[in-house]
Amino acid sequence: MSVRLLLLGTAWCVFPFPLPASPVPQDTTAGRAVYEKWCAGCHSETGAGDGPAAPYMLPRPRDFTGAIFKIRTTASGQLPSDADFMRAIDLGLPGTAMPGWKDRLTDRERRDVMAYIKTYSAFFADTTQRPTPLEFGKAPGGGTSAEALRIGRLFYDSLACRKCHGDAGRGDGPSAPTLHDDADFPIFAADLTQNWRFRGGGTVEDIYHRLRTGIDATPMPSFSDLIDQKVLTEEELWRLAQYARSLSPERPPEVRDVIHAAQLAQPVPVSPHDSAWSRVERYWFPLVGQVIHKPRWFTPAVSGVWVQAVHDGQSLALRVSWDDRSRSPDSAWLEHTGRVLASVASDDSTPQEPALWPDRLVVQFPVALLEGPQAMERPYFLMGSATQPVYQWRWTSGPIEDTLGAAGLARGIERFDPLVDATLRAQAVYDQGQWRVVFTRSLATVDTSNQLQFRAGRAISVAFFAWDGSNGETGPRMAVSSWYFLSLDTPTPPRVFVSPVLAMMVTLGLGWMVVRRAQRRAR
């Protein structure tokens, strides 16, 4: 008997079989400790979402006392299910300040904090609420086929998605300027071309769930009633979700360190419209708020820039595109500008009055390509310093023609000295929520001391800055990137391929001669 027990015990250690499960405990006392350590900084001790960090964020942290939640599988207006709650805690909400806690807190800690958060609203104890996940079914196949996308687009138009999300999905629709959340904070309609920033996830299923449940406390409605009232079918709503998904790339863009500018046989394209750009590889660089130099900026609207570069041996053309919901300056967005400035904590001693600021872009380089041990030393990324200036190309949106480009030296954020530069040209176009600016300049210029001389075969440091004027961004209130690299590539010379072959032939030939001689001697 004891031998059998011993064997069983050993077996269990090697192959643990599940013991009967005890109910998962949710301990609000333990949860409170977790909450106060990790959550209260944003969500506040009262759960109202106005913790010390909250004034620096848009969107604001959730107010748990109202029990109104954005990302759910339950119907519009309903409480979240426990699974919905845990999803928000585990994965966070992309594009917001809410991180995922799955790898930071234990399973037990996360359940306990959920239990504690529920105590902030009587709705969770109200047994008449009964949050029930909707029945979603499965996505119909063939979602990427031309016919499926055509149907999806039909509903994108008939359900008036374009009113907020715009015709190309970038959030620039006619109703976009007046959007606000339930607490009257400014809010953006999602840029459907950046699904990695969707609060509830960017898959087709995630999108479909949002269409069915709506996003509570925001302008995004639920479309479930339309299915119940037979205005549309589940399949049609799935097609809409598949269409919306198709507006974003297959995978979130990878950030690569080096922009490769291929050498063209013909002159570089100077216009953003030029079809040649569709054959040029593009590189994504994320931008973040400028939080170093006062007045700091915590809520930039431009999340990143796409960069393409080509040269023809004589000139360099750099095309920068970025999503911007407003073509600033635009008086239709002035109310939004005021809302943003009133909502976000600032370093200004007196609150900023909203004004019609333009959109801007700056591309930044070092002034010269250094040699030797200093070669990899780069100027201060935040627009250089008094002793080490940076060379910048600056573009500003104009009221009529968007071709205001200037080159100059910056010595810190506050000082910019324009240069007389006949060779820098800038052309811009604003197309359905996206700016595209092309800078062109000859590789070499007459002024060699103040202007960077571009050369092939070198890693040239480059950085980007962007402003969305309608979002209250001007001066130091901007979005910034860190230093990356630009490399002007030259076509690979034929000798690169011929030399190894020649070397092989010579080696083989010599080797054969040696073997032949040795064989003759042996005879």
Binding site: S76, G77, P219, P221, Q229
Partner: protein, 257 residues
Amino acid sequence: MRTHRMGVTLVAGLVVLCMGEREKNGTAQTAASGSAGAGDVAAQAGATITGKVKFTGARPVMAKIDMSDEPVCKGKYQAPPTKEDVVVSPNGMLANVFVYVKAGLPATYKAPAATAPVVLDQDGCRYKPHVFGILVGQTMSIKNSDGIAHNIKAKGVKNRPFNISQPTTMTTPRTFSAPEVMVALECNVHGWMKAYAAVLPHTFSAVSGADGSFKISGLPPGTYTIEAWHERYGAQTATVTVTGAETKTNDFTFAAR
């Protein structure tokens, strides 16, 4: 003898029918004159509180609404419509003030069951009515007369919120489960569209008309706290005691800020 009795029965029947007709007409009249609330529930007996809401001070100028992005709605107006946050008549009377019994109903009072829905219409990209009362559990029929896409967001705090889409001519029913003054309603496609629903456990409420007048009828005898609520100028209360079938007057005055 038999013909005579038949004649009397016929006449009696006619009289009863006519009375029924008159009753129905009476109800329709009550519904039209300033007293919003539960459909066709007519309380003919009881006391009445009536009054006018005055506005003092400089009348705020309401901005014009730019409906260029919605031609279907724009086309319904001869002159560009203005926002309706503050509607003051030329002789200083304030409209859209919601006046209701806040306290004082006897504990035995039970609200009548609502037999008809309250219709909230979206017409010309505006909500009609702008302010209204509705019983707990009464159906609100959200109607889209414009035929273009609207969303209807209800920002309840005591009631669970909702946000639904109506892309075409259609009607969607909704109810509220808890008393709440006010549940704000808005459309996000058309940022100027706002309405206010007062969810009450009773039908004793009214909305002041363009001439500032309101009338709450059918009150059981008692001492009531009545509240006058305006979306910009806040709320004021007054105490009114009524008995029998008397009519008492209580005016309100809101001052410009």
